[in-house]
Amino acid sequence: MIYRGAEAEILLSEFMNIKVVQKKRIPKKYRIKEIDTLLISYRTKEEARLMTEARTHGVAVPIIYDIDLENGVITMEYLDGKRIKDIIEDVDEKERKKICRMIGESIAKLHNNDIIHGDITTSNMILKNSRIHFIDFGLGCKDGEIEAKGVDLHVLMEAFNSTHARYPKCFNYVLDGYKKEFKGDVKLVVKKIEDIVRRGRYRR
């Protein structure tokens, strides 16, 4: 096991003689069987589907080798790269700007095809061969509404605010990249993010 997240274990394994990663969703004892089974199989299926689709639209994601719905396991490519969370504070401002813009461009490519990641945080992006790879589409979905796109970006904004509070410009760089690539009306998305911020409890 190389990582234990809140809902899944990430295991290192071999598949047809190649080094692979297996994402196994862990059954949770705290919730009843009905909800547990439903969530695990639904999320496994949805995640694999979204990853495949993201790849066809030019967004870097791990290649999927196998899917086991019953046990909630996705077998995928092992990415030998670095988590954005671990490097974003260590690089210089110029590099940080470049990385954030790339993140924004990739998110726009997802959104152009109505793919909502659902949990865009700096722990869910890996830098490898100068490309941003997105992992963990576990909370993703397909949604063409501006609302969903706004929420998707808002999650990242909150992640920057809480985890990388010392670098407040990051999210603006992301938006720059997003604006460059997004095919719809960016103003509507930006306005939606502002709406969502205000909607949170006790915002002004």
Binding site: R4, G5, A6, E7, K28, K29, Y30, R31, I32, E34, I35, L38, L39, G118, D119, I120, T121, S123, L139, V151, V155, E158, A159, N161, S162, T163, A165, R166, I196, R199, G200, R201, Y202, R203, R204
Partner: protein
């Protein structure tokens, strides 16, 4: 040092007297009185404020008597500055200002949400750096300390969990507070009815579920089964976002707070989650879980001791006082 705290953010007016003994919170007395809305309605802010104004003076006397101290023993007066309902906040703040001026003792306005977390740290021995799942009528937040502030890692995008339960309860004709009644009904539920499970990142939403649950009522499903399904679904989602925040912040303590934290099923679920990831589970005693004056007093005391000062002139209330706007100078 002894501090008197006045809580008045919503339905509860509460007075607490606490003493700091070697950095631990020692509760001398903690009395509350709860406003109950009319049948079929929610909290009416002005009526709640009238209720608080009626009882606050007697509660102060009662708290002094129970603590067996003199007014002169009070070193500091704290009150709930926000977030909450304006009229209620103003009533509590007015009482605090009057007391502060007449006793000639300093005043301190505190953040209600942060108070829920600090009372856990102050009264539970091993609780040092928890992720707080704060669940009440108005508030549903996952809060943890990071980089000098209590930051909100996840929260409701629409209504609080308590409000969701109350709204459903009112729909089926229950009286406020509906949570405990729904809990009783849920115990008799057996069949799980599928409900929307809405998590966005670490945030959560309940209004879709509420509508779906009301549809089940219309279609004649058993109330017990619906209550069971609401609890199982919403609590599973709450537990999940809490676990996500724990994984994200790499903390191994979880603390429950707020009125809904009294629910046994929610406690059981969060406790199981904590056990599964080798984390510690904490929940304050019932009287410290619900809105109360002792937690306000304790946070006021911590703030005062860390050098923060306030005077009557700038003791404003703040209805929209966000958890992450508080500069936390009393801990590293």
């Amino acid at each position: 040092m002894i501090c008197l705290g006045i809580e008045g953010t919503a339905h509860t007016i509460g007075i607490g007297l606490v003493e700091d003994i070697n950095g631990r919170c020692h509760i001398l007395s903690n009395v509350i009185k709860i406003y109950k809305p009319k049948h079929g309605g929610g909290i009416h802010p002005r009526e709640a404020a009238n209720h608080h104004a009626t009882y606050v003076a007697d509660l102060i006397k009662e708290s002094i008597k129970k603590a067996d101290i003199e007014y002169a023993d009070i070193d500091l007066v704290a009150f709930s500055k926000g977030p909450g309902l304006g009229p209620c906040l103003r009533t509590a703040a007015t009482a605090a200002r009057a007391l502060s001026l007449s006793l000639n003792k300093p005043i301190m306005g505190v953040n209600h949400c942060v108070a829920h977390l600090e009372i856990g740290r102050g009264t539970i021995e091993k609780c040092r750096d928890p992720v707080l799942l704060y669940v009440s009528g108005a508030n549903t937040q996952v809060i943890a300390f990071a980089e000098g502030k209590y930051r909100v890692f996840g929260e409701t995008l629409d209504i609080g969990i308590g409000n969701c339960l109350d709204k459903f309860g009112r729909y089926i004709g229950l009286d406020f507070p509906c949570g405990p009644k729904i809990e009783k009904l849920a115990e008799k539920g057996k069949q799980y009815l599928e409900l929307p499970y809405s998590i966005k990142g670490m945030d959560i939403a309940f209004s879709g579920l509420l509508t779906a649950a009301e549809q089940y009522v219309k279609h004649g499903k058993k109330i017990e089964d619906i209550c069971y399904s609401i609890q199982e679904t919403t609590f599973a989602a709450l537990t999940e976002v809490t676990e996500r925040a724990m994984a994200h912040t790499e903390k191994d303590e979880v603390l429950l707070g707020g009125g809904v934290a009294c629910n046994k099923r929610l406690r059981e679920m969060v406790k199981t989650m904590a056990q599964e990831r080798d984390a510690h589970f904490f929940v304050p005693s019932h009287d410290l879980c619900v809105d109360n004056g002792a937690m306000i007093a304790w946070l006021g005391l911590l703030m005062y001791k860390s050098g923060i000062r306030m005077n009557v002139e700038n003791s404003h209330i703040d209805q929209r006082f966000r958890t992450d706007r508080v500069d936390v100078s009393w801990r590293d």
